[in-house]
Amino acid sequence: MSLRNPKQVGEWINREKVINFSFEGEVFTAFEGDTISSALWAAGQKVLGRSFKYHRARGILSLANHDVNILMTDGLDTNIRADVTLVKEGMVLHVVNTIGGVKKDKNRIIDVLSPFLPVGFYYKAFYKPRWLFPYWERLIRNAAGLGITNFNFPRTLKRKLHAHCDVLVIGAGPSGLSAALAAADANVKVIMVDENAQLGGSLTYDQAGNQASTDYLNDLVSKVMQHTNITVYASAYAAGYYADHLIPIVGADGISKVRAKSVIVASGAFEQPPVFRYNDLPGIMLGSAAQRLIHRYATKPFNSGVVVTANDYGYRVALDLLEAGSKVLALVDMRTGSNGGLHAAALVQAGVKIYPAHCVYEALATSDKSSVRAAVICPYDEKNGIALTDSSFTLECDGIAMSAGWAPAAALLYQAGTAMQFDYGVQQFVPAKLPEGIFAAGKVNGVFELAQRMTDGARAANDALRYLGHKFEEIKVEKYLGNSSSQAYLPSHPYPMVAHPKGKNFVDFDEDIQIKDFENAAKEGFDNIELMKRFTTVGMGPSQGKHSNMNAIRLLAKIRHLPVEKIGTTTSRPFFHPTPIGHLAGRSFHPHRHTALHSWHAAQGAVFTDIGAWKRAAYYPQAGQTTEDTIQAEALAVRNKAGIIDGSSFGKVEVHGADAAKFLERFFTGSYASQKVGSCRYLLLLDESGVVVDDGIASRLADDLFYLSIGTSNAALVYREMQRCQQMWQLNIGLVNVTGAFGAINIAGPAAQQILAKVTNIDLAAIPNSSMREALVAGIETRVIRVTFVSDLSYELHMPMQQTPTVWQVLLDAGKQHGIRPFGTDAQRLLRLEMGHYLPGMDTDGLTNPFEIGADWAVKMQKPFFIGQRSLKIIAKKQSKKQLVPFTLAESFRGKLPLECNLVMDGQAIEGRVTSIGFSQFVNRHIGLAYVNPAKKAVGSSFQIRTDNGSLVTATVVQTPFFKTDKGGADAIV
């Protein structure tokens, strides 16, 4: 039986385009523009879903994105909100959370059992005995839950854009439209957002039977759409408020993060249901939902029904129902002494019987519980919320429209830090003190009458413009006191609830929470609004209390005999509305740096490792070799022949200027004033507390120019600290970070000199250790630095980044006959360990001072100043507690291998820990570095390491390097 009306002005559906879809196996048709719910309702389908807890039949409640009992799946997609999702051709829809379909859901038995499931039942029932809990958990999880996640859901990119505006207007109802126009007319950039497909807010449905407002709306909307200063985001919602006016606007395709200079919140209000027994039956809906059905989708909410109201709004709804051709059997007004103002007369004239000071005591269901069948009406003691059932009567009907009041859609205002206060003049929380740059207008500001909302919008825009520095006269508005036509007018009723001994008078439709649940929760001591929320789960469902929190607050106030403002509200957090994870993810940004040799490494099949932002070659896999063998072979090539590694990721900094040496002396621990041009010195950086931060090498290119190379991972931090110190010290220097502009290649091993000699123009034999020359290598200007980090004989070659592939290839060619081999960072770590070098950050931690790692020699305490010096003076006076020592395990060692971070033990006492350990094929031992008691630092001392399985392994302190330093590779000494 179709409830669809003939074509009408302002409808959102396109009757030219028919859409076919199926619901629970049955085929339906709809018009383009229909939501799933409106299409099904028009086709006479009333059971659209099942409630979460008791599996009760549910139909349309709000038609405004809060019908969370009506969630559907369509193929891979799930938890589709049917009340607002447009129906699409070919949809195959099923209701989530049922066993055997929405009509015969087997879980509806829970509704019958509900008297045995009081509030808090789950908390109390299942925690003992503990061993049974997994069983209950599985059972409950199967019965509860919404939809089934399909892991085959395709990943579709949702873009996250940035947008900027002077004024962001949230909500395109009358006050929002008015505000946007007023702001845009002042020639500022305005963004307007509304969750509906079309602008207009309540003007698109609330007409009180008079279509004249349609013209007014069309005029407003066309002005907004044509205004060049206004950008409109429709079908999108402002999801949250973040500091300094950052508001993410979520649409179907992605998120726009709007940075606004000011924000006008004109987000309106959520209509609140009156509470009576069986107020959840399909056919019973909010008045505004009935109006939306009528005006947007040209669909009758019911054929013959009742309007129950606790404010004047119900009268407007009744007029709209009459206009749509629904029969209104009665208008039940829960108020004593109110008559509905202007609209009452029109209703009476149309033959509608008005029952003031009456209530719907309960609704009655059809035998299959699929719809409302009748309303039981009786006089109402408004003051005490009690129905006087002695003189009740029953009206057969197929629907009830209900209005009781509003709750402000103030989530963003709360998130922005607005102080809200309860205004008894409108029975609503309204903004009392707004944060800077935030303004409120319309219903969320407690203003309800149409003309007043328009004025309030313009007033808010004016406030925003003055905040932005425009010179306008302040628009002063006297406090809006409801509708001028009626003194008794209150948009919201203070307590629109009807007690019933048998309950099932629902406050929260998400979670099936009834009045008695609140009373019981309060009795058990959960009588604070935040505690009550957790215990009863009110407002914790998918609609997040949008239609239940206000009634919950009123209930608690009554239970505790307190005024509403003493109860307060629960905390509002982003997001305002469930936002898909895919939207939050957006595009993947994982910035990473490649050296100029990256494609060469990749072509060799290198396995890359992340070091800071860099991708570095860890090793080059060889066919038929294990990873471990490959790394050992790469390291052996360096010990026996020659190896080459891409070191382009090293931090590289030039320090120019007359005070360059002075700067280094202050910044690092060593002495640089005396450093000769062409020589290199060790760099050790401490923090103010004397803790080791990083190390590196300084090469002096000229009196007034040093070239620094620093480890990869700390380079950015060290450069930043150099910049900061220069800010404070104001020396005559210039810092140039050449990390990305310069590449570096390290060639190491006994054959390194022979190979390099073939392709350079200088005499390498004349370069001692720890010195630097500028030379041509393969014809390219290169800084050649002789260092001993991985091997006794090794050269770091620094040159412009783009030139590194040329030099690399020339070296490989020249070294081919010498057995040169590229090696990666894994072999490099092993090689430096064999040399006995510590790595800051690996072999040091946030407490390590230079004395503990044996770097005393690098610390020039007699200098006038360096960072950390004063602290070291204090530390030097104290007994050292730990010392980093090189150790080996016995050659015969087999068993559980100690790992990095395993503890060094002395009986039950912790003495230190292992910081580096590895097997060296060259040394033919497990070698490592560990912190031990200083008493045990002498070569030959032994200590014990506790492994992961608790076993103790004996280690012996040795000398470094771990091998004889004669060129050509010698046997290990221990």
């Binding site: 500091a243 940075r259 103010e688 507390s689 930043r720 800010q727 010096q869 204090i874």
Partner: protein, 90 residues
Amino acid sequence: MKLLTCPVNGTRPLSEFIFGGEYRVAPNPDTCTDAEWAAYVHNRQGTPGDKKEWWYHSPSGTWFIAERNTLTDKVSRTYLLSDMHAKVAK
């Protein structure tokens, strides 16, 4: 996300900045006692209120000072260190 104003590059989202800790003046290392130095290095004044802080604008490499109320998280002004004494004098 918060905004912060770099005195050279203008107002930018916080993601472009790195926090550099509170701006503090070290006692004279040559004349202070060990206890005074240790207090400077290890102790921080945690009382919320107006603080001077180091901030670094990463894309441009600019260090500057922000005066921020750590209770309200409001930044009252930002300036280069070299301008600090001029500002304080006002």
